[in-house]
Amino acid sequence: MTTPVISARALTLTLGQTEILKGIDLEVAPGETVALLGPSGSGKSSLMALLTGIERASGGRLAVAGSDFADLSEDALARARRGRIGIVLQAFHLLPTMTALENVATPLELAGQPDARNRAAEELAAVGLGHRLAHYPAQLSGGEQQRVAIARALAPRPPLIFADEPTGNLDAATGAAIIDLLFARREATGATLVIITHDPDLAQRCGRIVTLADGRIASDVRR
């Protein structure tokens, strides 16, 4: 049996007095495409924050891409993300003072990649933005900004990609194009993809749909 790329056991998250996640058990195999579905407040984004090491769990065990997240400090979690976990966020979160090329090159540079700029340019060309390298985020459309964000997440060739409501800030047509692109790039790199969404149609494109409700996994369906 192959080693799961994500292995969560009895994962909990409590902020202040509020219990956000109430014991999540989840295993994701390499190469899977998983949709985390659920209504607002169900704990989707919090679960993603734990799985990406952005937030530390209050309890339970969690191993991601070969690292035991439970024992790692915040800085060690950051190092664990380098080159292993790519993240695409709903609000893009591009660095506004950097060009598209610089935005994509940054994770490669943080990981000590020597030809970061060339690889970033290749990745931008792959998402159809080879002609926008020197543009700043403010000079790009919403769709283009999300393409840059996808290129940035995929540039270090991570085995695991998370996308949090990647089309939430886009119109329907642009959103569909972005999802096509995301799946195409995942296909090309063979990475595991976890998408957080409340869109059932988008979830249908994934091989597995995990539904959250009130901080627990309500259903886990492989298709």
Partner: protein, 856 residues
């Protein structure tokens, strides 16, 4: 392709390299330094002030050094009082090189009705040994021919004479040969009463001005025949003629008074500039904190992409360093560019290198202070930025971050220690510097605490009923309010304004009012001792009711002191302390039968009338303390080149405030009465019916006619000069303190800009709720007006208290500030603050509700 394509070592590297950090920092940094402009502006102001002060001071000092030979008028200078040089002395000087001998003295010049005190300078045919005297008509000349004189422009003006016309000194007629345009060794002449007049070397002797006992100085200048060390040559002369009383000067210390003044003034201005830079530091800290707050999302994004807190520290540090470097370089450039303007403002007062000067040590010091202030004030916000969590991207609000002092403490402490160490290491007077640093730190701490207290007070005050006033008050204490920082930054500068205005007006009032009341109206030198009665009669005839006090007046240098057989020779002392100033050169000596007026014995006994035993001396207790004298010790002085010894019989406390004749050494008459000498007198005019003193018109003329060799010094013009000097010094300090206020204003503008988004939002809400633009303006005016009122309430007592201490305790003068002027200066400062505050708030006023709400 898989993630393993990145090397495991690279992925686990704890911190990115500085090169990578710089690439990310550079890409992420706006070259227009958006968000960091407050840092730039504050650093620019502080560094520019320090660079300008340091460059100007260095420029003056270098000019004094490089022109040393010209200022001194040779390689070595020598001066003795009341006598000519002896044959062996002259031969010893001639062996060194070319010698120019002359005399200097006070004298009275008359022309028609005008009677003017002059500094008489008699020079021989070799003068000037260095440079040439330039006359206003363009001629370059040396000594004037016999019967002629070169007059300073002021002398010609006051006497009302032009070239070719005649005037008299000591009853001898002289023709004005020319008006002096540039006298090469004027700065080396030192301070003197009256305007300069140059005559040939024989004139004073022929006019009877150098009779034995007269107050004249013989001055020699030597241009070495072969290059040699001037200090070594001076030492040889001192040891060869131990009782000569020589005051020696070398070309590298040609104008020690001017050099000391420039060094101390420069040091003081540097400290004021440093205080301004510290105020600017508050702005730097606020600016960086506000910039980092704005970059929370970017920092969190970098962390999501794999940056550790150490990586964030490196990246932000490099960005702040780049902006700081730009601010420092711009400040240094402005400092260099401002120096010629300041030099031009100094005019002909003091020599400054013309044009632009790149003074590397001064610029390095300004830059170092700038970097250290950046280190101290940016370490806390940078340490906080390390801790911005990646989670900030996922959640709109995260709990406020505590300052991780572990990371900030070391750089803050190291920076503060380095600032203090640098200031002390480069100080002309380390204790004064230490006092200033301590005082400034205490004032800043007091202001910071006051600011915090006021914010709390504002929060606890009853809420005003009116919505607009309530909003204005709330702005002072709401979360994120910068009132403590503003009170500290602006309070310091405005307190300095109040302090300077109060000290300057107090000192000026003392000089204008108190000193003339206490000081005699005239000092008269060189009254023949056998004509004291005639002198009193002459004064009584022209100024009835005037009080005349006469004392024997000699000059002499202290040569040695201490217990019998174990005396310390002054010539052997490596350095003379400031409070032992009486050991330097020749000083006034006198003798008396009774304790002089205004003096009080503090130890020992006074000698009886007609005492005829071994010579005794009474010594000023401050000098005794400074050099460790005891009753019964011996004291050797040189009088007219002869060494005489006396036993210390008593110590006296002298009331220096009496401003009359006060002598550090008073001898028993049998010690000095046989030495040739004259009398000196003070004349106190009676008060008129209107409570003021009126100078009798004929007094000076009558005295000059009856005592042609005597010289009269009027206190009025001297006090005017003192007030002029005080005003110039005050202006220089005020300009340096002005930088502190400007830095404070930069902090204010920065704080307003940082809170602009929140203010615009509130303003828009007020407008939506029906407030007019005028009412919004009133809210802003109310808030800043209240801040101005707080600042006034802080600056007035704080500045006045320190000013009182300086005037009353330090200078021992009366506290006589001109309150309308002090308040006007404070009001001017506050108006500046209010003006800038309102100008910086204009975008808030201009915000259009519809547009803002659309963008929310």
């Amino acid at each position: 392709m898989s993630g393993d394509s990145l090397s495991a070592a690279a992925l686990q590297r704890r911190t990115i390299s500085w090169g990578t950090a710089w690439r990310i920092a550079r890409a992420d940094l706006s070259w227009r330094f958006r968000g960091l402009r407050l840092l730039l502006a504050c650093l620019f102001l502080g560094v520019a002030a320090l660079a300008a002060i340091g460059t100007l001071t260095g420029s003056i000092q270098r000019e004094l050094d490089s022109r040393g030979r010209l200022i001194l008028g040779g390689d070595l200078g020598l001066e003795v009082w009341q006598r000519d040089l002896t044959g062996p002395e002259l031969r010893a000087l001639a062996a060194l090189g070319k010698v120019s001998i002359g005399t200097r003295m006070q004298a009275m010049a008359t022309a028609g009705e005008a009677t003017v005190p002059v500094q008489l300078k008699a020079v021989d045919g070799n003068w000037p040994l260095v440079g040439r005297l330039r006359l206003a008509d363009g001629r370059t000349v040396g000594a004037p021919p016999p019967g002629e004189a070169w007059l300073a422009e002021g002398a010609a003006e006051r006497l009302g004479v032009a070239p070719g016309q005649r005037f008299a000194i000591a009853g001898r007629l002289l023709t004005v040969g020319g008006i002096i345009a540039d006298e090469p060794d004027r700065l080396g002449e030192g301070f003197g009463w009256g305007v300069p007049v140059i005559v040939d070397a024989e004139f004073p002797g022929n006019a009877g001005l150098t009779q034995t006992g007269s107050q004249f100085r013989t001055r020699a200048r030597i241009a070495f025949a072969t290059e040699q060390d001037p200090a070594a040559a001076a030492d040889r002369l001192k040891h060869r003629f131990p009782a000569s009383g020589f005051a020696l000067r070398t070309r590298d210390k040609a104008a020690p008074g001017a050099e000391n003044f420039v060094a101390r003034m420069g040091q003081f201005l540097i400290l004021v500039g440093l205080a301004a830079l510290v105020i600017a530091g508050i702005g730097i800290g606020l600016g960086v904190a506000s910039w980092l707050e704005g970059r929370r999302a970017s920092i969190a994004t970098l962390k999501v992409l794999g940056a550790t807190s150490a990586d964030i520290a490196r990246i932000t540090l490099l960005q702040v360093a780049a902006a700081s470097l730009a601010g420092i370089v711009a400040g240094l450039a402005a400092g260099v560019l401002a120096t010629p303007l300041l030099a031009a403002a100094l005019g002909s007062l003091i020599p400054v290198s013309p044009g632009f000067v790149i003074d590397a040590p001064a610029l390095a010091m300004a830059a170092t202070y700038g970097l250290l202030v950046v280190l101290v004030f940016t370490a806390p916000p940078l340490a906080r930025a390390r801790a911005f969590p990646a989670m900030a991207l996922m959640r709109a609000r995260i709990s406020p971050l505590a300052l991780p002092w572990r990371h900030a403490l070391l750089p803050v402490a190291a920076g503060l220690a380095a600032i203090a160490a640098l200031a002390l290491a480069t100080a002309a007077q380390p204790w004064v510097t230490l006092g200033f640093l301590g005082g400034a730190a205490a004032a800043l701490a007091l202001l910071a605490l006051t600011g915090k207290g006021l914010r709390r007070l504002a929060a606890r005050l009853p809420r005003p009923r009116g919505a607009l006033l309530r909003t204005a008050m709330a702005n002072l204490h709401r979360p994120g309010s910068q009132v403590p920082a503003l009170v500290t930054a602006l309070g310091f500068g405005l307190s300095a304004f109040v302090l300077l205005a109060a000290v300057q007006t107090s000192m000026s009032a003392n000089i204008a009012a108190r000193v003339p009341q206490r000081a005699p109206d005239f000092f008269v030198l060189d009254i023949p001792r056998d004509r004291a009665g005639e002198f009193r009669a002459a004064v009584a005839a022209t100024a009835p009711g005037a009080q005349v006090r006469m004392v024997p007046n000699l000059r002499g240098a202290i040569l040695a002191y201490g217990p019998p057989g174990l005396m310390t020779r002054v010539a052997d002392l490596p350095k003379i302390a400031d409070n032992a100033w009486a050991l330097r050169g020749e000083r006034g000596l006198t003798y008396a039968d009774s304790v002089p007026e205004g003096n009080r014995l503090t130890a020992g006994r006074w000698w009886p009338q007609g005492y005829a035993g071994p010579p005794l001396v009474s010594v000023d207790e401050r000098l005794a303390d400074a050099i460790g004298l005891h009753l019964g010790d011996r004291l050797a002085v040189s009088v007219l080149g002869v060494e005489r010894e006396a036993t210390i019989a008593s110590f006296r406390r002298i009331d220096w405030d009496s401003l009359g004749f006060n002598y550090v050494l008073v001898f028993s008459p049998n010690m000095l009465a046989d030495a040739p000498h004259n009398l000196a007198a003070t004349i106190d005019l009676p008060l008129g019916a209107d409570g003021t003193k009126h100078r009798p018109p004929g007094l000076l003329r009558a005295l000059v006619r009856a005592f042609p060799a005597a010289s009269v010094i009027e206190t009025g013009p001297i006090l005017r000069d003192a007030r002029d000097l005080l005003n110039q010094v005050s202006l220089a300090v005020l300009a340096a303190a002005g930088v502190a206020v400007l830095a404070g204003i930069a902090v204010l503008v920065g704080a307003i800009a940082a809170a602009r988004a929140a203010r615009i939002y509130e303003t828009v809400i007020l407008r939506v709720l029906g407030a007019s633009r005028r009412q919004v303006l009133l809210v802003l005016l109310g808030e800043f007006g209240f801040l101005a009122l707080l600042l006034a309430l802080i600056a007035l007592p704080l500045g006045s208290a320190v000013g009182w201490w300086i005037v009353v305790r330090l200078f021992e003068f009366d506290w006589l500030p001109n309150w309308p002027r002090v308040l006007a200066v404070l009001a001017g400062g506050l108006a500046l603050v209010l003006g800038f505050a309102m100008a910086a708030s204009l975008p808030v006023l201009r915000a259009r509700p519809a547009q803002v709400l659309r963008e929310l």
